[in-house]
Symmetry: C3
Subunit: 354 residues, 3 copies
């Protein structure tokens, strides 16, 4: 087995192709899992994803325009519907049946545009992650972002699943003291389709952004709860309550900080990815000073991650077959990699059995 | 047989290397058919094309300078004449006979500098296209251009040989109504070394630029006559006469519009080319407002083509073996491709037989 | 045997990795002989060179920082000492023994930081060139530079070993008359580990910079003495004395010009190198107008060389197997290439025998 830390792609899975607001009547070109696709919204308002290549002369459809129920190629005017069928062939309409471009299953839900880039017959919508925090209104105001990373998507996942990087990479933003991350209690476990860890920093000084948001007067019990769901998602719950409020028994109390983050890395290619993330801040509107500051801190921190992860990718590419080491703190990283590899090995059968 | 729409190069043929005015005493570096060459004009005023590599230490001759009857390398001073022979070897003149660089047959005629990049023994000047419109003085004032396209040269030819793209690519410039291009009558035929089509839009509204140039008061009979001559040339005759003047019987009448265009795509490599074009406007000086506007419209339209053709090439390169479709409107495109392929298959024998 | 003029690398040899002043507490990333390394100076003040890749997750150590006796990775905080051993492993200190990165032998001497990129067991410090002109105080004031060349290191050596390029490449700076370089007397010889030539231009007009520096009133006897020491060094002694002072018998006289140059080309890869150079000017401080002008002239001339050498490399890369010609003036060039090739063939044995 190869030592190469660049994970091959899993095709039979749902990935986030875009945020809902990114998909409009203006065609959007994007590369997903090595395929060039065009995303658009037709007259019905439904999102569609087609290969970004007209079957006639290979012109990118993203240079065309949406007309009624389809997208028209900007070279010679052929029109393709959401399912890829040719619905317009100027001057040769009777030949429409000869032409078709590839279409991809799309599900738009909870502000995400999910796509299935593998075998369409295996696309099971029930496998899409439910994320109610994007539909909870004022209780969970959220903000989001989309970054391009020149790195294999699993380096993004690795980074999230080992928080000991916080004190080094994010020393100047959200990091806090390196030692406190090392001293935290940590429980890690494999899940059916991923891995999960929960980390507690008991009776620890709250970071400044937490004080600003919740007005803490003394030490807090702080948690970081991360679940990786293969192939590309990480659901994070982080927060703190003042000492003495039994946080470990009940984290759903008012008067503290409670954040829900959704992370998703969609491969663009084996060596690059789209990183989609949202942060929902319990009862804390994005329009407040604390809400704005939190968003800025997180966005800045992700840029710090990007610098490190892209440098890591570049070093790995100089000798792809040279393996990495897993320290004891990498237990969740190793479990996540194993879950992905399991999914890759079993992907056609597991999906077909559903 | 490969489906790849990127046509391999035909070497034993004449190509345009430059416009005459581009070749001066200042050496010009250019890549033609995958070879790096240097173009210059020596003291005699004759144009020369040599490989752009000194045989001594491989320095590009284009970094040197023209001295008398040759070009002097800027590294150690060796001089090479138009035929590639070494005519100067500082400090070791008796060794001149040991050195030579490759030279290419050149014919300068009618403002074109033609080059033969294949076997010099097969270079037959009688195969060069005669283009009298560049020598017709005030009767055919002309203007010209030279663009670099990041695309296989045949995508430029394809584009010219299927005019149904006009309504889509050039909608905002010279395109007119898409439907009128589809409705035109079209006659297509193979020729000995290419393909030809003539298209008539009878009793149609003249485009604004035609009205400005010829003062048309009503509908016109309009023609587009295109001839591809393998491997790289397209000769175009376009124009219009008012309805009732028997345009189909005699296009050589005054009082209308008559344009002669010369298009030539010289491969730079398999995936890029030089596009040379000229437009001659019958009895309409380039200095008039109508002449200027026409030139600007055409130059703008060719930039629109460039955008589309380069995007097409990029899409093709992502999967070279995936074929293109030929619609019925592509008859001349298919004939042109076939003529080129015939030339490629037979090139050494046909040329040798002359 | 390949004709390719791009010389493969010799690994078992000392190369200049940096000037001393370039190596500080701020980690410096550099590629040497195809390896990415990090250079730094730890708390002891000693220079160190490690591979630029943490053994944990492959993050570049150059993104980290020097802490005490080692360099700390900026991703998860591991620390490595000058010998590559792990001396810090946050939260898992008992596992230090499991981790190590590659280190390279370093010798810092006479303002050079020398590195041995091959088998460390063969690194013999006695093979390092002694260069006393960097330790001679006011007698030999010197200035230095470091350029990046996109060229195989031997093209830099070739350039130095055939001075007939001076009249062409440096016509506008230090070149002088092409003919005078051709007319000079030249003695060339192979040495044990390189090649040497000495060139005399007897009773010749001194160049303006020499007149400015030494106040010559008439013609001079001028010498250029170059010794190549494989794989990467050239030691140059150039100067002039007025005619009648027996320069050929004794060049160590006051009242003339005497320059000592050290040139060194360290491969970055097979197709690029670092060019380190210094120029020492006998009894002429760098702060004088003549000293400044000399430095500027030389730095400008090396930029002219860079332009030509990089163009030469690009031409060679277009057809790597096409050989170069050696003119009679290339005798020292040919001897230098042969010395390098001899070193490459015998490198493991010769070194092992010491």
């Amino acid at each position: 087995m190869s030592n190469c830390p660049i994970e091959p792609l899993v095709h039979n899975a749902w990935y986030i192709a875009a945020w809902s607001h990114e998909v409009t009547e203006a065609p959007l070109a994007r590369r997903l899992l090595g395929e060039d696709v065009v995303l658009f919204r037709d007259a019905s308002g439904d999102a569609a994803i087609l290969e970004d290549r007209c079957c006639h002369r290979a012109a990118p459809l993203s240079l065309g325009s949406v007309v009624g129920d389809g997208i028209q190629c900007g070279y010679h005017g052929m029109v393709f519907g959401r399912d890829g069928a040719c619905i317009g062939n100027p001057g040769e309409e009777d030949d429409r049946g000869l032409y078709r471009v590839r279409s991809f299953p799309v599900v738009e839900r909870q502000h995400f545009v999910w796509v299935w880039m593998g075998d369409p017959g295996l696309a099971d919508q029930s496998a899409i992650i439910d994320y109610p925090f994007h539909e909870a209104g004022e209780e969970w105001p959220f903000q989001f972002g989309h970054y391009h990373y020149a790195a294999n998507f699993m380096f993004v996942i690795d980074n999230l699943m080992d928080l000991t990087h916080l004190g080094y990479v994010h020393g100047s933003t959200i990091g806090g003291f390196p030692q406190s991350h090392v001293d935290a209690t940590l429980e890690t476990a494999a899940t059916e389709n991923g891995a999960r860890f929960i980390r507690w920093m008991m009776a620890s000084p709250p970071p400044p952004s937490f004080v600003a948001a919740a007005g803490f007067q003394g030490p807090v019990d702080r948690w970081s709860d991360f679940e990786y769901v293969a192939p590309g998602s990480v659901l994070q719950w982080g927060g703190a309550l003042e000492v003495g409020r039994d946080a470990t028994e009940n984290r759903n109390q008012d008067g503290g900080v409670s954040l829900r983050l959704f992370h998703h890395a969609t491969p663009e290619s084996e060596t690059s990815c789209h990183y989609f993330w949202s942060v929902a801040n319990h009862n804390c509107p994005a329009t407040t000073a604390a809400g704005k500051q939190l968003y800025k801190d997180i966005a800045d921190a992700f840029m710090e991650d990007k610098t490190m992860i892209e440098a890591q990718q570049a070093a790995v590419l100089r000798n792809r077959e040279r393996g990495l080491h897993y320290r004891r703190h990498d237990e969740a990283v190793a479990l996540a990699r194993r879950a992905l590899q399991r999914m890759r090995v079993t992907e056609p059968r597991a999906a077909a059995a559903e």
